[in-house]
């Protein structure tokens, strides 16, 4: 695809959790918990509130189609603020300072007086029904052509455990949201910008690392298309695929639009109860359903079943809309007979619905209330098809396609957080911020000062273990040993399914120091790390891998081996070193440095010769 020709415009929003001591609007630690550790539960309903304009935000309204009881897990590390049972504290100053640091790194202009807002979110992920967020800075620059529109400081939402159950440990962790202008024009460009911003964030050394701590949302539109926000793109490498699939989707939707218009397609006003048609069907879902409603979409024949993105059809979009009413999805004649629905039943359905050849009949099933709600949603989405691409918030599916979540939220869902006073940002505050060394600069410095090659230096600078690497170097450990252990060794172990992330930094530092002191040989590191990852203490791990092995111990073995193979050595001379070395290493591998073995063996062979 020629993205420039299609008029691709893409922007990204990056959400990055900050590594503060306390949460953004309470004093709880920013610590994630295992749900088994929960100490209490609370249960609440949420209801959209009507704005002064007499309207309910369309995103909120969408979530309200069912009255849902949300359940929240509370911990001894959460408090009444997460429970929405106590007013928030003033905004965490540490978080604000980190946000301002990032803003400064991005050359943004801070807002003189920061106002904390409530963004209405009633999907249950916020006990209050809103997320607190504040615009901190605007107008940053990235690269030559791209602009950062805004940097907001927000509270993280609660983690969803199951459908209606959330865990309160994550709620309230500070988050910066960095939004770029739609200034990218190719999928690759999007990935680059995202990577660069990520590097900036990690350069502060004060952001959370690890799974789920950074999330990218991508905004995409093409000419004649519409702005689509795709949420939850966690891996940088997937970004280009997501972008190009969305472009593809918009292109296809625009084609469908044109075709519908040219066909004179029509969306009906009402559905038709066809429950009786499926009394005896082999489709379990339909047979058990208290109510089945059908509707004929004139001129939609073949279009609803048309693929618009790998694995996604126009029908999938309609299905997503219908699901908001609590139904499982929709059936339509573009895909029937199937799922236990027979040819005869389809025929009866088409007949009853007075559907012509170019028409498509959609059916929905559930309680009467659900079915009516669902068919209306189908009509709504079908109507939108005449417009082309509806503005939507979508969620990324595993392979890079996306599904509908809710309409793009409007400004109506944003109103002031009256419980928190505004904060003035002064020029002095900004001036006092010392900027951290960027990771790119740091990588260059590693190459220069520590003599590590560029690729490894970059890896180290970007790695989660960077602080540990710097501590190790400071403690006098050879940079190459530290870098290799923290990167290659651990990555290799990880490929073997050994997760070293749980090993405390202090333990690793201690282990590396022992290698430096010679009490542990570096060849033993993989096995020791493997044991540590299994939960062992350092001393135990070191011992289990093999007793410490002195040069004297080695000399004994070498002497024995050399004596046993005296003839061979005398026969081969110095060339015997290689083969004999293999024999010795078989016994001592992982317990002593190979270089030492070579030295000792060499001397021993020389004595024999």
């Amino acid at each position: 695809m020629d993205f420039k020709l299609l008029g691709l415009k893409a922007g990204i929003e990056i959400h990055q959790q900050l590594d503060t001591k306390e949460k953004l609007f309470c004093r709880c630690p920013t610590q994630l918990r295992n749900v088994d550790e929960r100490s209490k539960e609370i249960q609440r309903y949420l209801r959209a509130t009507v704005s002064e304009m007499g309207t309910i935000d369309r995103a909120a309204e969408e979530e309200m189609k069912q009255m849902r009881l949300f359940r929240y897990y509370a911990y001894d590390t959460t408090c009444l603020v997460e429970n929405d049972d106590e007013p928030p504290t003033p905004m965490n100053e540490e978080a604000l300072e980190i946000a301002l640091t990032i803003a400064k790194l991005l050359s943004m202009s801070p807002i003189n007086q920061v106002h904390i807002m409530r963004k209405m979110v009633i999907d249950g992920s916020n006990t209050s029904g809103f997320q607190r967020t504040a615009l901190i800075a605007m107008n940053g620059i990235i690269g030559d052509t791209c602009r950062i529109e805004s940097l907001c400081l927000e509270e993280e939402a609660a983690q969803r455990v199951t459908d209606e159950t959330f865990s309160l440990d994550r709620l309230g962790i500070p988050l910066v949201e960095i939004t770029t202008a739609p200034c990218m024009h190719t999928p690759e460009e999007v990935k680059e910008v995202a990577g660069y911003i990520g590097m900036i964030l990690r350069s502060t050394g004060r952001v959370k690392r690890g799974l789920g701590t950074i999330r990218q949302d991508v905004n995409i539109s093409i000419r004649e298309g519409a702005r689509i926000e795709i949420k939850g793109v966690q891996e940088l490498d997937l970004i280009p695929e997501v972008v190009s699939r969305e472009v593809q989707r918009q292109v296809n939707l625009l084609a469908i639009r044109d075709e519908l218009i040219s066909r004179g397609a029509k969306v009906p006003d009402e559905g038709l109860d066809v429950t009786d048609l499926f009394r005896e069907t082999k489709s379990k879902v339909l047979r058990k359903s208290p109510c089945i409603i059908a509707a004929t979409l004139k001129g939609f024949g073949g279009i609803i079943g048309r693929e618009i993105q790998p694995g996604r059809r126009l029908g999938s979009e309609m299905s997503d809309y219908a699901k908001k009413c609590g139904v499982g999805g929709i059936f339509h004649t573009d895909e029937l007979p199937a799922y236990g629905v027979t040819e005869e039943e389809v025929h009866a359905l088409r007949e009853r619905s007075a559907a012509g050849d170019g028409d498509c009949v959609v059916i929905v099933s559930g309680t009467r209330e659900q079915a009516i709600c669902a068919i209306r949603q189908v009509f709504k989405r079908a109507t939108m098809a005449f417009e082309g691409v509806p503005e939507e918030t979508r969620k990324m599916l595993p392979e890079g396609s996306s599904a509908y979540m809710r309409p793009l939220p409007g400004a109506a869902r944003m109103y002031p957080e009256t419980d928190v006073l505004p904060i003035g940002i002064t020029t002095e505050m900004m001036e006092e911020i010392t900027l951290p060394e960027l990771l790119t600069e740091r990588a260059a410095r590693f190459t220069e000062e520590l003599g590590i090659d560029e690729a490894l230096a970059r890896q180290i600078a970007y790695s989660d273990r960077l602080p540990l690497f710097e501590r190790a170097v400071e403690a006098g450990i050879k940079p190459s040993l530290a870098a290799r252990t923290l990167l290659s060794t651990m990555r290799e172990l990880s490929r073997d399914g050994v997760d070293c992330s749980g090993i405390p930094d202090d333990t690793i530092l201690d282990l590396l120091s022992r290698v430096a002191e010679g009490t542990v040989v570096k060849e033993g590191l993989p096995d020791i790390l493997r044991t540590l990852a299994g939960g062992a203490a350092l001393d135990a791990a070191v011992t289990s891998v093999g007793p410490t092995f002195s040069v004297t111990d080695l000399e004994e073995i070498v002497e024995r081996v050399v004596q046993e193979r005296g003839d061979f050595i005398r026969e081969r001379g110095k060339a015997a070193l290689g083969p004999v070395m293999g024999v010795v290493m078989k016994e001592v591998r992982g317990r002593i440095d190979g270089q030492i073995v070579a030295d000792v063996l060499k001397r021993s062979i020389e004595k024999v010769l």
């Binding site: 609370i42 249960q43 609440r44 309903y45 949420l46 209801r47 959209a48 509130t49 009507v50 704005s51 002064e52 304009m53 007499g54 309207t55 909120a60 009255m67 009881l69 009444l80 429970n83 929405d84 049972d85 106590e86 007013p87 202009s109 807002i111 003189n112 007086q113 920061v114 106002h115 807002m117 409530r118 963004k119 209405m120 009633i122 006990t127 209050s128 029904g129 809103f130 967020t133 504040a134 615009l135 605007m138 107008n139 805004s150 907001c152 409007g410 400004a411 109506a412 869902r413 944003m414 109103y415 002031p416 009256t418 505004p422 003035g424």
Partner: protein, 408 residues
């Protein structure tokens, strides 16, 4: 510039459009298109034009004439308030249509008419307003309301409910309701509390109660007897607690099924009557170690004083002279306990016996706040010292329990 004006402002050269909201701490607050508010120096803001006034779309409210007629009397508080999404200003919903539009399910419980004798923050409530409120409620019942709902700020709701309880003999439920979390938030307790209060206002009850969340969950509301309830938490939804007594009813949510306690007073048990004189010159004094006896001089011209003493109802002997002086000046003094739970008994220790000898009246197990309200009311009814003493010791509206049940 006035609220709503379209403006443009420059931020480091970049021009941004927005809506002018207000000025705060020297900054102009502008709402951007994204919905965010920012505060920037007024000098950077430039007027463009008046904003378009979008008329508020209001759905028509039709009330079901077959349902019982309930009166909603609003006095302020967050329960029926709504927020201006642009300015954050909170306004009060006070007419029936507005309330039903905010909480549509109400229309399935009753048909509503509304009165608004005043709108205040509940911390500004005064005894004279209690009288206005009691009269308004009385009028509504007289005009046929099957139940009365009083929306009230939670801060002093227990005081007001208690005052109405003494002033009014009611044959129908008079239910005070508030909310602990503002009505503008999706998690507000206002809708559930309002629905439960409407359900109980049409139920078989004939007394004054306070209807609020029973737990921190949205599972049920409790109706507390007005004279036994106290706000026991600054912010939790279940802040209101019956002290030394069980709630008189609970209402499950969302089912709105009512379960009434054995000692609840039933509908039509009492004839409607209003006794609306309150003596305002009454005070409540919480004793603490080191309290200056001179404080009693302040109260010596008062007609009544409730003391929240320590333990079983004690104060320092340093205060005894002042107490005697007050009593000889005609001040009625009631002893309650700052423990809140349990009964005053001034017969156990010497300090207490001295208080009794001086003429202090034991407040039994009355809450100090309830004792204050009751004293204002009793002194409004009679000047006779013996009658005052008798009435203060007698259980009139559930404020005194003759027995201290175990397990409450």
């Amino acid at each position: 510039m006035i609220t709503g004006d379209l403006v443009k402002c420059s931020l480091k050269g970049e021009i941004i459009e927005g809506v002018y909201i207000t000025e705060r701490d020297g900054m102009a607050v502008i709402k951007l298109g994204s919905g965010y508010n920012i505060g920037i120096p007024p000098s950077q803001v430039e007027y463009i034009e008046k904003s378009e006034q979008i008329p508020i779309a209001e759905t028509t409210v039709i009330q079901n004439q077959a349902l019982p007629e309930l009166a909603i009397i609003s006095t302020g508080g967050t329960i029926a308030s709504s927020v201006d999404y642009r300015t954050g200003a909170v306004t009060s919903r006070s007419n029936a249509d507005e309330i039903i539009r905010a909480i549509p399910r109400l229309a399935t419980i009753g048909r509503f008419r509304t009165r608004q004798p005043f709108t205040i923050l509940s911390e500004n409530m005064k005894p004279s307003m209690w009288v206005d409120l009691a009269r308004t409620i009385h009028d509504e019942i007289e005009e046929g309301a099957a139940g009365v709902i009083v929306t009230h700020g939670t801060d002093t709701m227990a005081y007001s409910a208690s005052a109405v309880s003494f002033m009014l003999d009611t044959p129908v439920p008079v239910i005070f309701v508030g909310s602990q979390r503002s009505a503008d938030r999706p998690s507000s307790d206002n809708a559930m509390n309002a629905l439960c209060s409407a359900a109980v206002a049409s139920a078989d009850l004939g007394e004054v109660g306070v209807c609020m969340h029973g737990t921190v969950n949205d599972d049920y509301c409790a109706v507390h007897r007005a004279t036994r309830v106290r706000k026991m938490h600054t912010s939790r939804r279940d802040a209101f607690q019956s002290i030394g007594a069980s709630p008189i009813a609970t209402i499950s949510y969302p089912e709105l099924e009512i379960s009434t306690g054995a000692d609840a007073i039933r509908r039509s048990s009492r004839e409607l009557a209003l006794f609306d004189r309150m003596e305002e010159r009454c005070g409540l004094l919480s004793f603490y170690p080191g309290m200056d006896p001179a404080i009693l001089e302040f109260y010596s011209s008062y007609r009544g004083l409730v003391i929240a003493g320590t333990g079983l109802g004690h104060i320092s002997t340093m205060l005894m002279d002042g107490i005697r002086e007050c009593i000889s000046n005609g001040t009625t003094i009631i002893m309650t306990s700052q423990c809140l739970h349990g009964r005053v008994c001034d017969r156990v220790y010497d300090t207490g016996r001295d208080l009794l000898a001086a003429g202090v009246i034991e407040g039994e197990d009355m809450l100090p706040e309830t004792a204050l309200v009751k004293l204002m009311w009793v002194l409004g009814q009679t000047d006779d010292q013996e009658e005052i003493s008798r009435m203060m010791k007698e259980n009139l509206k559930g404020e005194i329990q003759r027995r201290s049940a175990y397990g409450l």
